[in-house]
Symmetry: C2
Subunit: 239 residues, 2 copies
DNA sequence: CGGCAGTTTGATGTTACTCAATTTAAGTGG
DNA sequence: CCACTTAAATTGAGTAACATCAAACTGCCG
């Protein structure tokens, strides 16, 4: 999981730099995946569906550029966003072990996606304990996040949910890039926020206005500007 | 994960039978863990706390008998139950990889718990691909359940949440024992249900009464009696 | 018999949803 | 550059779902 100077095989769209990917480890990056034929690339337009529940695939997907999200669709038309995907994210760690998606995924912005053959990854995992280590750490982290989200959706108010989501996204963005002036670029519609925290877009709009009026933060024009980090943290942190 | 006729090392409290444990695989069960000194046992009384968030432990815990649950405690006194633990359940699959609990756990009934040294399990995992296979399958299953729960808490009504919980518990009980006459023993108070689905005990009581009056199911005296399985399924399934 | 924990019920309050109208922003083609 | 179109965000009014508070009821156990 260390950044390396070598070009990243999983995410060639970011040549020469660290793409942030879980799979960006020397033993996977050394040599050319593409040359060996166990990697392919896809692109998708904004709001295009890029994976569908129950669909089988021999590949594990990594987001290279842009934002996406994975979600579950309900019969009544509503959907629950499970996770926003940022560059370097595996669609899910579990996808390394299962050949069928248990969720759907959709692009938010234009995206580029890398598809790695699962069998090849597993062979390399068997050879190299470092990769196992990385993957198991990723499993642990994913289960922590799932448990936190459960807690937030089960126990907390609208304001707290949205504050939590913002803090969560802020942390993840900070891990990828330098943030100046407490301004975080989020390419999301209010509908996305609503689907992620289990509220209606109308109510999300009201809460955002409240945050704005109280000088806590201002989410508009695809930028989250945090004005009072302490207060946002007080509302949204899980203690 | 196949039942074996040999006594189960992880759960000696159920001698001679399959304890249901994830770790009940020949390669772990052969020989005596206790003799080799990498296993210990604990007991706890009803509603006794058996694990605490941020506590470190060199052991991985498996529930042998009784019911328990793992949960997150909030500063405001409320708690979210993440999972009900039944005999054979690992407290969490992630605990194989992390030496610190990220949740707390409490007994529901009187329980017996088996503690296996993490280091020993990991050594055996490295040797035996079957165990990896079992564990990775367990990771996948746990992430499915977490995603489903997220969906239920984020998007569904009180009735739907409780129906979902019942269906979920029914499936898990059926995997362990034969069920007669659609009667499922659940050693839970309404408070447990409330904490699991993010409602107040008062509202849980009202919904249960509704289910009773509509002839869907009757949960009382620690038994869930399902009268109209189709209807319960219609309300609580995720499609 | 008294006490306790859990459940039930009623009355009332709050939060968030629904529906519908209006405003703003972002394109698009002339 | 400006009308026209469309998607997104905002606002208000009314409503439904669930929470809160408090009292009564039940079964159980000493």
């Amino acid at each position: 999981m260390k950044p390396t100077a070598s070009p990243c095989v999983t995410c060639p769209h970011r040549e020469g730099g660290f793409c942030g990917s879980l799979l960006h480890v020397p033993s996977l990056s050394s040599g050319s995946a593409a040359q060996r034929g166990w990697q392919r690339f896809f692109a998708a337009k904004p709001s295009e569906q890029i994976a569908t529940r129950n669909q089988t695939s021999a590949d594990v997907f990594v987001l290279c550029t842009g934002w996406a999200f994975r979600f579950l669709q309900l019969p009544n038309g509503r959907r629950q966003i499970l996770k926003f995907l940022m560059p370097g994210d595996l669609f899910s760690t579990a996808s390394i072990f299962e050949d069928q998606f248990h969720y759907s995924a959709k692009a938010v912005t234009a995206v580029q996606i890398s598809a790695l053959e699962r069998s090849e990854i597993r062979v390399r995992c068997a050879e190299n304990p470092d990769i196992w280590d990385t993957i198991s750490r990723s499993c642990v982290e994913e289960s922590h996040m799932a448990d936190e989200l459960t807690c937030v959706l089960g126990q907390r108010s609208a304001e707290e949910r949205i504050a939590y989501l913002f803090l969560h996204l802020m942390r993840r963005i900070e891990a990828r890039s330098v943030v100046r002036d407490w301004r975080y670029p989020l390419p999301l519609r209010q509908q996305h926020i609503a689907d992620a925290v289990g509220l209606t877009p109308v109510h999300v709009s009201r809460v955002l206005r409240l945050f704005r009026d109280r000088g806590i933060c201002d989410f508009s024009e695809n930028v989250l500007a945090v004005r009072n980090p302490a207060e946002l943290n007080r509302i949204g942190s899980l203690g």
